[in-house]
């Protein structure tokens, strides 16, 4: 099947997501280009995961269009899903399976031929060779994230969707994960990630969208957003150390109130 000719690897247009009467996502639009790391930032309950769930085909949006590598997620879900790799926020696998078996399972699902040598090389690459016979629940948080990432990119997708990939990781593991995310970008593939870490967004994202109360309120490169909003009184008020950071812009635009 031939995809629609489009330069972006992900295009979200006028997306609306409802849970009953509650509208979680309101007219959200953005696109992610090849070789780009795009961050979706927002406070808790802002609509980030709902947006990702719609992109991943886990929920049916009320309206709007989502195109992955030129394939409409509603019209050609299998083609769209074959082009994306997903790391969910709370990933879990069959608790009885070993890491080796889990990787083999997903390789099989994506139609990737994975011999013992290749599988060992993958495990060696992410320093999980010794953990290959362990169950997912027996791994540390960092190891679990590495397994999740391996599985999400095992079929070399053009679009990787990572939902809060560094939550709970120590600085070393986080840096290592950033390197892996940048390696995906270097191949000309695209990454869409959500994060609560402004440091992470500044460090790895080429562009970000700030989403609040279901709406995109700003989209730009992190440094451009800082430049654009540095004189905003709310942003200055949010600043703690004089120098305006992305976190100050984020707090300035979304408010100081704690979200539940």
């Amino acid at each position: 099947m031939q995809a629609e000719n489009d330069s972006s690897l992900l295009k979200v247009e006028n997306l609306d997501v409802f849970y009953g009467n509650f509208q979680a996502v309101k007219n959200v639009s953005f696109e992610v280009k090849p070789g780009e790391i795009f961050g979706l930032l927002g406070p808790n309950g802002a609509g980030k995961t709902s947006t990702l769930s719609a992109v991943e085909g886990l929920i049916n949006p009320e309206s709007g269009e989502i195109t992955v590598a030129g394939f409409n997620i509603r019209k050609h879900p299998m083609h769209a899903k074959a082009n994306m790799g997903v790391q969910l926020q709370a990933t879990s696998f069959q608790p009885e399976l070993t890491i080796r078996e889990i990787i083999k399972l997903f390789a099989g699902i994506y139609g990737v031929s994975l011999g013992t040598e290749k599988l060992n090389a993958i495990l060696r690459d992410v320093k999980l060779e010794d953990a290959a016979s362990k169950k997912f629940g027996q791994l540390s948080g960092g190891q679990q994230q590495r397994v999740s990432l391996i599985i999400s990119i095992i079929h070399d997708p053009v679009l990787s969707i990572l939902d809060e990939p560094t939550t709970g990781l120590d600085p070393q593991s986080r840096r290592q994960l950033w390197d892996r995310i940048e390696a995906i970008k270097d191949k000309g593939h695209a990454v869409l990630l959500t994060t609560h870490s402004m440091e992470e967004a500044e460090a790895v994202c080429d562009r970000i969208a700030i989403i609040d109360h279901g709406r995109v309120i700003a989209t730009d490169a992190p440094e451009s957003l800082i430049e654009l909003h540095k004189d905003n009184p709310e942003v200055i008020n949010a600043s703690r150390k004089g120098k305006i950071t992305l976190e100050d812009v984020f707090i300035g635009l979304t408010g100081k109130a704690v979200r539940t």
């Binding site: 031939q2 899903k81 074959a82 082009n83 969910l88 069959q94 099989g108 699902i109 139609g111």
Partner: protein, 250 residues
């Protein structure tokens, strides 16, 4: 952009292999599913002459099928839904029907295993033998009865979202079905309840299993029980699929 969609058959094979591995690692629960029917057959050794071999085998099989469908299938589906295992599979290019089909394949093999186990124990301990056609027909009726209980299990996970609640509900339904089935069928709760039990999911499955073992005893009531079993299986499965949510949080 050209995209190659992985072959559904290959993806399904990988999933079935993983589900069988999971079942193998849970072999203690598999043994438990087989244990109750086996214990029944062994403990009824002294009364086989009075109640008949077909009655004993069909009762043991019905209890085993109830255990597989309600305790095995429903509880494992609820647990994996709660853990997000299904959501992880749903973001892959695997048709969603394959996820359930793979689970059902494992349970169908369990039904065949249970039936074979009951036949072997019935022969070894109680010296119950059936004709060749009786064995074949019992495998078929066991699969049909199994479909009914898998449908019932599906209905429970469709109705109840929380894995813990599914667990306790399943135990309750399992015990209620078995108690009412055994004692009701023996007429211990009166004639009216015996009639109700006879046409209940427990009773119809037991009826077709017993008649399948002794084809000469197949009559109009058995044919009606077969139709009712079909009906139960279709209604339970339809409602179970309709009510089922892949994510317990929604």
């Amino acid at each position: 952009m050209q995209t190659l969609i992985p072959k559904t058959s290959a993806a399904f094979t990988s999933l079935v292999r993983a589900d069988f591995t999971t079942q193998w690692r849970n072999r203690r629960s598999v043994v438990m599913s087989l244990l109750v029917p086996v214990i029944i057959l062994i403990s009824w050794k002294g009364v086989i002459d009075k109640i008949g071999g077909a009655f004993a085998l069909s009762m043991a099989l019905t209890i085993g099928l109830t255990s597989i469908g309600i305790m095995g299938y429903a509880v494992s589906v609820a647990r994996d839904r709660d853990k997000g295992v299904f959501q992880r599979l749903r973001v892959t290019p695997l048709p969603t029907y394959c996820i359930m089909l793979s689970r059902l394949t494992v349970q169908l093999v369990m039904i065949v295993l249970l039936t074979a186990c009951v036949f072997i124990v019935g022969y070894q301990y109680d010296h119950i033998t059936l004709s060749g056609s009786g064995y074949v027909l019992t495998f078929i009726t066991a699969l049909l009865g199994g479909a009914l209980y898998l449908g019932l299990g599906q209905m429970i996970v469709g109705l109840v979202k929380n894995a813990e609640t599914v667990n306790s509900t399943s135990r309750l339904v399992y015990i209620a079905l078995i108690m009412l089935g055994i004692f009701g069928e023996l007429g211990m709760f009166g004639k009216q309840l015996k009639e109700i039990v006879h046409w209940s999911p427990f009773g119809t499955v037991k009826t077709i299993l017993a008649a399948g073992m002794q084809l000469s005893s197949w009559d109009n009531t058995t044919s009606m029980a077969l139709l009712v079993t079909f009906g139960y299986a279709i209604v339970f499965s339809f409602l179970g699929i309709k009510w089922f949510r892949w994510n317990s949080a929604v």
